[in-house]
């Protein structure tokens, strides 16, 4: 072999060793799905799509929650709260919401995406009880790229209602069913009933979406998604694909995080494990709100389940309980990463209330402060005629000790800790509490039927809305879930307003859910927060926060600052947040 031959061999070896180009980077996450053979690609039927959801499907817009139309700060500062995805623009009026779609978008199977696809999704969504159908009268598609949502009742929540669902049922596959659905008839009447049955039986192998990634393979432990080369933002998506590890329980995800296998994951994590995970180079923890909180709920029915007169009907009695509980300690024990609520009881999310006018200053000037004060609690009980016995337990006028049961869902480990903590604190104060857990299958039914004295409940939930209307509706509207638990519709107790007169909170909540006037909304929110705080139907003590571990500089770079409002995209769809960051070119791969 001559010298050129050796040179050629040397160059070939070099190219083979180093010349394969930059390594393709996969984003590593964790999520849940049904393992094969149950896995399938129909988002309508149970077991379908799983963790691939936000990677393969897209919404029309992504809505960053908050008051007003413009995002005030952070990554997306100055932009409209509706970040465009499959749609480009909108026009919002009390009569209709008109959406202009992005042109040139394709489904993963190559079919073009048009307004017929959007129509198909919202029509099938009727069968799934999508919240938008409370307000929606009809959907019109005047051309391939325009969709008109016509309201039967105007709603200020048009944006979250339209932005929440992903477009998951292409017309060319699901249109034959959508065409049969009659949205003027009940879901369980024909033809809707038969269509539901047919849709539940349809189980394609993989989902077909328009999202930035396509499902490639799925096993019981891993899911592999590859980049969709024809995606409208493919040039900005800097990842070759997504590798998801199956999330069976939090312990396993902690292991994956500690082993450096994940770029981001959000397991609720003990403090010591959190500290260990955060020691990994580049690992950070963001804690945006989970749009919900925990509270202690009082039974406000005429009598207690055993027929005894109900002392919780007395506001001062409930206030005494509130003062007797150190909510900071309770929150720490129950959900250490949450946001403790230690002073007031507005029924609003602690992290977002100030945005809606319920500021610290306003509360200090207008509301009763229930900060931990056992002396005040004792004073209130004495005013009501209770006396402390020689054993340190409070007794009523007949000499009977104050003794109540406190129940929670047996499957919610944080609630189990909470009831033990409350029992210990109130015993210290002089009230006997008997903690009791009930299996999930009977818990909700039993408490909604009033079969409890004190119980654990959700408060300020605004899943799907991220608006105080949903938070306040939970407890102050007769159809709200916590309102049904406390017995709002049955109670002889009259909720009093700021003017000292009984108020119809249900009507006020409905009014809040119908007004477009931001100032009016703030006024109603403040009034309802006042009613919630001063009438104290429940005692909130912690707002849940999502613990999002994310690693900078290993495979992924460019994560937003921890206080960026963009993190508010995480509750209800954490992968929606990741995909938005990818499509906007915010996070990029580290080769």
């Amino acid at each position: 072999m001559n010298k050129y031959g050796w040179w050629l061999i040397a160059i070939a070896v070099f190219l083979l060793a180093f010349g394969t180009g930059a390594q393709e980077v996969y984003f590593h996450g964790a999520s849940g799905w049904e393992p094969p053979p149950l896995y399938h690609g129909n988002a309508f039927a149970p077991g379908g799509v799983g963790g691939a959801w936000w990677w393969v499907f897209e919404p029309l817009f992504v809505y960053v929650p908050g008051p007003g139309d413009i995002i005030p700060s952070g990554l997306f500062a100055g932009r409209d709260r509706m970040l465009p995805r499959l749609a480009l623009s909108y026009e919002d009026t009390p009569e209709a919401f008109v959406v202009k779609l992005r042109e040139g978008v394709k489904w993963h199977d190559g079919e073009p995406f048009t307004s017929k696809d959007v129509w198909t999704n919202f029509i099938i969504g009727y069968l799934q009880g999508w919240g938008i159908w409370r307000y929606l009268d009809s959907i019109e598609i005047p051309d391939d790229y325009t969709v008109v949502f016509r309201w039967k009742a105007p709603t200020p929540f048009a944006k979250p209602l339209i932005a929440s669902p992903v477009i998951r049922w292409p017309y060319h596959i699901y249109g034959k069913w959508a065409e049969k659905i009659d949205v003027k008839k009940p879901r369980d009447a024909e033809p809707n009933k038969s269509v539901t049955e047919e849709l539940l039986k349809f189980k394609p192998e993989k989902p077909v979406g328009t999202g930035p990634f396509m499902l490639d393979k799925v096993t019981a432990s891993e899911m592999l998604l590859v980049k969709f080369p024809d995606h409208w933002a493919a040039d900005k998506v800097d990842f070759a694909g997504v590798k998801l590890l199956r999330w069976t329980n939090n312990y396993v995800v902690w292991g994956y995080l500690l082993g450096g296998e994940l770029d981001a994951a959000h397991p609720a994590t003990r403090r010591d494990i959190t500290e260990a995970i955060l020691k990994l180079p580049g690992m950070k923890l963001a804690t945006p709100t989970d749009l919900a909180g925990f509270c202690l709920a009082f039974n406000l029915r005429e009598t207690l389940p055993d027929g005894r007169p109900n002392p919780f009907l007395n506001l001062k009695f409930r206030q005494a309980i509130a003062y007797a509980i150190d909510r900071a300690e309770l929150a720490e024990a129950t959900y250490w990463a949450g946001l403790p609520i230690t002073d007031y009881a507005t029924g609003l999310l602690e992290s977002m209330r100030a945005d809606w006018g319920v500021t610290d200053e306003w509360m200090a000037a207008n509301l009763t402060d229930y900060s931990y004060d056992p002396e005040k609690a004792a004073m209130l009980l004495e005013e009501l005629g209770y006396k402390k016995g020689p054993n340190g337990i409070w007794r009523d006028k007949d000499g009977k000790p104050l003794k109540f049961s406190l129940v929670c869902h047996a499957g919610y480990s944080d609630w189990v800790i909470a009831i033990d903590n409350i029992a210990a604190q109130l015993k210290e104060f002089g009230i006997i509490i008997e903690p009791e857990t009930r299996p999930g299958a009977i818990y909700w039914k039993s408490i909604r039927a009033g079969n409890f004295e004190l119980c654990m409940e959700w408060t300020a939930t605004s899943w799907g809305f991220a608006h105080p209307w949903a938070e306040l509706r939970r407890t102050l509207h007769k159809d709200g879930d916590t309102a049904r638990t406390i017995g709002l519709a049955e109670t002889p107790y009259a909720f009093l307003g700021p003017d000292g007169k009984p108020v119809d909170t249900t009507a006020m909540v409905d009014e809040l859910g119908a007004t477009f006037d931001l100032d009016k909304q703030v006024e109603l929110i403040r009034t309802l927060a006042w009613v919630h705080n001063e009438n104290l139907p429940v005692l909130p003590f912690v707002e849940k926060r999502i613990m999002i571990f994310h690693r900078e500089g290993v495979r992924v770079a460019g994560w937003p600052a921890l206080d960026d409002p963009a993190w508010l995209l995480a509750p209800g769809g954490i992968e929606r947040f990741y995909t938005t960051l990818m499509i906007e070119g915010v996070i990029t791969s580290v080769p």
Binding site: P46, R187, L200, M223, L224, N249, G259, A441, G572
Partner: protein, 329 residues
């Protein structure tokens, strides 16, 4: 032969009674699964509870007000066709689920059982033979320790040490997602690599129990005349241990082994969950957690049937292995 038929009929009767009892118990567990499912919908979709409850009833095709007898008739009709049931959550046949999950569980658990049984028999025999050696307290202590330690703790420790810290073994799944399943060396090697930690977890947990059982059986055999005679004849220790002691002591353990093989059809919820292994345990846990009556009934019935049949086979095998034992007529 007649006695075998009688035993078989008895086994079938037992399975029938067990199926009925399981059905009645599961159907009468307090609570309404629709409430849990509806709450899931409320939390994920922002639906109000009433709507979510109706949706759940429709989605899962479950009517809590259907009379028990009607449900029983449907169940029995399906069973007679060889259909173990229908999962309410997944709207899929339980047979289909079992067909995919059982091979993985059978592979991991049978290898573990054979390994732990073999090691346990050897250790138990040695401990009985050399009772005053250090081996006795070591094996007994180990057996007590593993009996007191939940299997998921062992699995978690193995995961942390060998998969996460040392990275010697994969932490999850039955094989790498990048490898094409098939009869190839690469795939088989990959499967064995992935199965190593689940097998080790099962084995470490079970070996102590087998060793103690074997020790007990061997000690009683040691007092037998034929052992004394073998010693008096000057036979080598190794021959006495293998041909006289171990062979005779192992017989009582056969029933236990058969029952364990039967019970393996249930998989291990905790180990399979920790290693993300695609076995029966995962589906069992889902059925229990989500109150999927159809799947629960099917999986329980399979495990019960397997255990009863394994017992039946153990009886026959026992009689063949030990000429002193005769099946009663």
């Amino acid at each position: 032969m007649t006695i075998i038929v009688k035993r078989l009929v008895l086994a079938i009767l037992t399975i029938t009674v067990a199926a009925l009892v399981t059905f009645i118990v599961i159907q009468n567990v307090p609570g309404d699964p629709l409430y849990e499912w509806a709450m899931d919908m409320v939390q994920t979709s922002g639906l109000d509870f009433e709507t979510a409850y109706k949706m759940a009833a429709q989605m899962y095709g479950y009517d809590p007000n259907q009379p028990l007898l009607d449900r029983l008739v449907t169940y029995v009709k399906r069973l007679l066709k060889g259909d173990l049931g229908y999962s309410m959550i997944y709207r899929a046949s339980v047979n289909q689920i079992i067909a995919k999950a059982l091979p993985w569980t059978a592979f991991v658990v049978s290898v573990s059982l054979l390994l732990s049984f073999s090691m346990g028999v050897i250790l138990g025999t040695l401990v009985a033979w050399k009772r005053r050696s250090i081996l006795d307290p070591l094996v007994t202590g180990y057996a007590s320790f593993t009996a007191a330690t939940p299997d998921y703790v062992t699995a978690m420790l193995l995961l942390l040490f060998f998969a996460i810290n040392l990275k010697w073994f994969p932490s999850k799944g039955a094989y790498d997602i990048g490898i094409e399943p098939g009869f190839s060396l690469a795939f088989i090697g990959n499967v064995l690599h992935h199965a190593a930690l689940p097998i080790l977890s099962y084995t470490l947990e079970a070996v102590g129990g087998w060793a103690l059982a074997m020790k007990g059986a061997a000690i009683s055999v040691l007092g037998e005349d034929y052992i004394m005679a073998a010693k008096a004849r000057g036979l080598k220790d190794q021959r006495i241990v293998t041909s006289y002691l171990a062979r005779n002591s192992i017989l009582p353990l056969i029933t236990g082994l058969a029952i364990s093989f039967g019970a393996m059809f249930g998989g291990s919820i905790l180990i399979e969950t920790i290693f993300n292994y695609p076995g029966m345990g995962w589906f069992f846990s889902q059925a229990l957690m989500r109150k999927d009556y159809g799947m629960m009934q099917g999986l329980f019935l399979l495990t019960i049937t397997a255990t009863i049949l394994a017992n039946f086979l153990a009886d026959i095998l026992y009689a063949k292995l030990d000429p002193r034992v005769r099946l009663e007529r």
